[in-house]
Symmetry: C4
Subunit: 208 residues, 4 copies
């Protein structure tokens, strides 16, 4: 294992423990990746079927731009590697984080017909990259879930091309994909979007 | 204490601390078991009336296929040992975990008349052994609770025989029983089913 | 400080950290006591205005049956010492624990007119001392809150005399008092009653 | 770094970890300050854009009464430094803590038209400085959020002058500002107000 892969794995492992404490990666749900190099594109990504709350550097793999494993082959890469690579390319992202929270799951279902939900008026929005005011209206697209990874990746790419200003995408009944220029940016985006989804979800229930 | 019992006890103790952090085993609720050997059948199981958040290997017992304690006798086995043995036999399970969460408790009551609840459309379902798509429809049977352990075990056996594809069973007003080929599989099943029960429960409340 | 007071203080301190993790003693709310001796009656009790999540043995005091401080006088005893002593006498309790949870607070208000709420049908009830079946109906009396400690203590004594089988009492808009023969019994009663209050509270909201 | 700044930074860092565990400072939300000296006024305040769950003393800055950085200049002070200074002056506060909870965010929006919400009848209110009874009626003013810091500070100053007995202020869709004579008082006020906001929020949803 290269020193760089180990360092990135340790950092993503800390994030996993943090998210696990908040029940955002229960079971073996979620997957995380970070860019090791741009040219050629090399991505560090969590192996398939490992728990994100107890990640060790040995549970990460290095893949090339086609998703093929480079070097050591301890386990296979997450089935959703394609989505990570597409997001990295479309957004010049340095890291992609995917979480499964209860609120994200519920809202992705309740708003599926509108193919997204709008979040506005929250100061928390300012934590999203490039957002300067709570008056910002953040559109979170919702994409139909699919076990055919090529088809699902196609839908996600279409959304990334169409909605160029979004910071995250919900897969229906599945969870949140978000990203950032750095690992820290992506981590902050998860925390902000999960907070906002919970706030929007709770506010959408009836009040006396 | 055999080295094997100690190792299994330590592993189940870690799971207990994890579940306790999520309030799934408050009071002295819940009980955990794992198979030590198949022939003859030997099960490691939590002693009765101990807190699952602070388990030590000394709080586990070894029982035979009739539920009689083998060797050391520090405490008595959980009153629900019968259920663990029946599940192990009917499902060739390597571990059985029983939790008491608020959402599981509420839903087991709300859906008692239908003798179960169906969960479908969630990506999380794919974490259940043998499930390959979110389009899967998971039936979670609900069994009437009973203090007569022979009668309760009879009901659970009937469900296990009838609903051969289920991954867990709710006892009404009581909690969740789930299992897996390995301890890790059973732990993952608890996390997934508890996540899904919370998601289904929250989604079942009214929305504006 | 006697060795005994230190030992009891450390044990109650652990309980405080556990309850604090669950947000049952936010601010400086709650107070804990345990019996050091019966004849003469000596009670270890948390000092007033300390945080229950960071208790040290030095934050406990020893009081006699009249509530007067014995020996070392580092701080004053909790204003609610009277209630602790009355419960210890009326119930031969070895420990009394008082918590302030959100669910307990809300329910104590919603059911104030009925002067209590009934909890039944939950397996968790069996964790209460002397309860052998989930068919048990646990009555949790609700007492009007009062800043006049003599008057409040009088109301609590009246309830303890009338409802001889209860395991806990809610003070309206204030929180839960529970107790047990040992510190472990009292701790278990808090966990069980707080679980049940949350379950009853969530189930009392509308369902689709 | 002076020894005093380091000590204060460590204490505020502990508070940050505590609040982060409760999801009150997700993303890089929130900011904390404490008075180092009164004459001349020197404030220790969190640097802008740092996570409050992992604060180190190096992530704090010292500012004067105009908000200009004194000495070492590692990062820039929080954009909301003006609000901290105004609160410190208007209330002779020794510390100011700002948190972003889901319940505070939702309620600040639901009650925005009344420019505040009243909280009464809770024993927890007694943890607020100077409050002696649960019959106290605490008014929590809600101020319209604004990215123009001078304008926002003006509104907050107007509220501080008008509502001289309040212990905290909600910025709409943004979060809670509270303060105290000491850091411990301010920390306690956060815990109490966040508890009360959750209790009021949950109680405001319909009941069967």
């Amino acid at each position: 294992m290269t020193e760089e892969l180990r360092t990135v794995g340790e950092r993503l492992g800390e994030i996993g423990r943090r998210f696990d404490d908040r029940n955002w990666v229960l079971g073996t749900s979620g997957n995380f990746s970070a860019v090791l190099s741009r040219k050629p594109l090399r991505l560090v990504i969590t192996a398939s079927a490992v728990h994100k709350g107890t990640l060790t550097p040995a549970q990460f793999l290095e893949v090339d731009e086609a998703g093929a494993v480079c070097g050591r082959r301890a386990g296979k890469p997450s089935a959703e590697t394609r989505l990570h690579l597409d997001i990295v390319k479309a957004r010049s992202a340095g890291a992609v984080l995917h979480t499964h929270s209860v609120w994200g799951t519920i809202l992705s279902d309740l708003h599926a017909d509108s193919e997204g939900l709008a979040i506005e008026g929250f100061e928390m929005l300012k934590g999203l990259d490039g957002v300067a005011t709570h008056e910002h209206r953040e559109w979170v697209p919702i994409v139909a879930n699919d076990q055919d990874m090529a088809r699902l990746a196609g839908r996600v790419r279409a959304v990334l091309e169409r909605d160029t200003r979004v910071h995250g995408i919900l897969l229906r009944g599945h969870g949140l994909y978000t990203w950032g220029r750095t690992i820290a940016d992506a981590e902050r985006h998860v925390e902000i979007l999960e907070f906002l989804l919970e706030a929007v979800g709770r506010r959408s229930q009836p009040w006396r």
